[in-house]
């Protein structure tokens, strides 16, 4: 039986189409449908219930030392209120999960992990924790929402003390939004401006409804897992279980920027030495033929299978695209064929991200 997030009843009331996902019953879409939800995030704002995500806390005087050894990114220089993305590697250099680190203070780091990996991550992390440090699983008590889209800053501004709203990407504050105590971070998984809000499970319904009501005039609508996937794919963000898994290294997944090999030592480092230029790497594909390419489709170049797609669908703003793990370093513009359920569909290697939000630099 799937678990319910604290606002499950709200999804049902809003007409959400509920599906099982990562052990939770979550809406894949609301009556507006995936395309409208997707476009709302690109042009106005969308609100997602991502309470299924896990929250682990690493705390104690030795928290930093432990974190530095456990994750692949370098946490040196992080300040309170800062977020950092990192892969979590196993001893073989494969990816256990990808996660967001929030530094609460020098002795407490919140790790936001994928729902499907939460238990695995917790066990993995506990294996390495030493000294005066403990890992705690706070997931059950925390609800998480993602407010994403160009109108998100204006909406939040009306709901929180402006001085307490995080201004920079990848920073957070602990503040009140609509009177609800929240961890408010300037982060997201859509390629748009936006925030993620963490609050106590018992405050979740109130906060969700306040956000929906406040944002309505700006075009904010609730969005489901379907739009979350098309948005992240369009922004070419990797998703665990697709572009990443326990066997794929961060170098193959194209997230090498978040692996700091010059760092003293970390779990997986010795296995990753010499693998910086892997045979298989993540590429972007645009479908030029007729059809939609999904995951697990063979990609063929000159009659030879060079890899498989890892994600793919029709993305509202850019059309049918896919990501694939391919060998042989095909150059941009290379024409390939993709085998889609017995049919061959033409595609072309194109640069990622497929979608980049328009610059919002304001004139001084």
């Amino acid at each position: 039986m799937e678990k319910k997030t604290p606002i499950y009843d709200c999804h049902v009331e809003l007409g959400g189409k509920i599906v099982p996902f990562a052990g939770y019953s979550l809406p894949v879409q609301y009556p507006n449908g995936v395309i409208k939800e997707h476009m709302a995030v690109r042009t106005a704002a969308g609100l997602f219930d991502v309470s299924h995500m896990g929250e682990l806390l690493l705390k104690g005087p030795d928290a930093f030392k432990n974190l530095q050894y456990i994750v692949a990114n370098d946490c040196e220089g992080m300040v309170d209120g800062q977020c950092r993305y990192t892969p979590l590697c196993n001893e073989n250099g494969g990816i256990v999960d990808d996660l967001l680190i929030c530094r609460i203070n020098e002795n407490a780091y919140l790790l936001v992990v994928n729902a499907a990996n939460k238990d695995k991550d917790f066990e993995h992390i506990k294996k390495y924790v030493t000294g005066d440090c403990v890992a705690e699983d706070l997931s059950e008590g925390i609800a998480q929402f993602a407010l994403q889209g160009p109108k998100a800053p204006a909406i939040i501004k009306r709901m929180a003390d402006e001085n307490t709203i995080p201004k920079k990407y990848y920073t957070f504050t602990v503040t009140e939004v609509a009177g609800v105590k929240c961890l408010l971070s300037r982060t997201g998984y859509t390629g748009e401006l936006g925030y993620e809000l963490y609050c106590a499970a018992e405050d979740a319904v109130g906060l969700w409804n306040s956000l929906l009501k406040e944002g309505e005039a700006d075009g904010l609508i609730p969005c489901g897992l379907g739009a979350r996937d098309t948005l992240r794919l369009e922004a070419s963000m990797p998703l665990y279980g697709h572009e990443m898994n326990d066997e794929i290294t961060p170098f193959e997944a194209g997230i090498e920027f978040f692996v700091k090999m010059e760092k003293a030592d970390f779990v997986g480092k010795s296995a990753l030495v010499g693998k910086e230029n892997p045979e298989n790497k993540r590429y972007g594909l645009k479908v030029t033929g007729r059809g939609i390419v999904r995951e697990e489709c063979e990609v063929i170049l000159n009659g030879e299978v060079i890899g498989k797609t890892t994600s793919g669908t029709h993305c509202p703003a850019v059309g049918p695209v896919a990501m694939a793990l391919l060998k042989g370093e095909p150059a941009e513009g290379t024409k390939v064929e993709v085998s889609v359920r017995g049919r061959t569909v033409e595609a072309e290697i194109i640069p990622m991200p497929f979608y980049k939000r328009p610059s919002t630099k304001t004139a001084k």
Partner: protein, 126 residues
Amino acid sequence: MNIPTNLMYSKDHEWVKMLNDGTALVGITDHAQSELGDIVFINLPVVGDEVVMDEPLGDVESVKAVSDIICPISGTVAEINEELLTAPQAINEDAYEAWLIRVENVTDKADLLTAEEYAEFVEAEK
């Protein structure tokens, strides 16, 4: 639920409309399009192809997933709705207006349901 009474329905959620000249139009039901969500691609046979009852005549892709379209009748494809190849979202807009194929030389028909029976069938499937 939108289920016109002048059509016949299959348990695979296709509709059939028998025309006066003995040919038949085939489409997917309003319930099916609603379950699929935003339709972004459709793969149809070509004119002259044989379609076989209970076998896929093509497939339809929504943002979420791909589904086979199971043909409720056997015969020869006389015409396809070419508009759908470039504008498959027409199926979401009106599933009964957006027919997929017209079939001639109809040789076999599944046990098709009336509108009332189909409504009961959908209800029972929930």
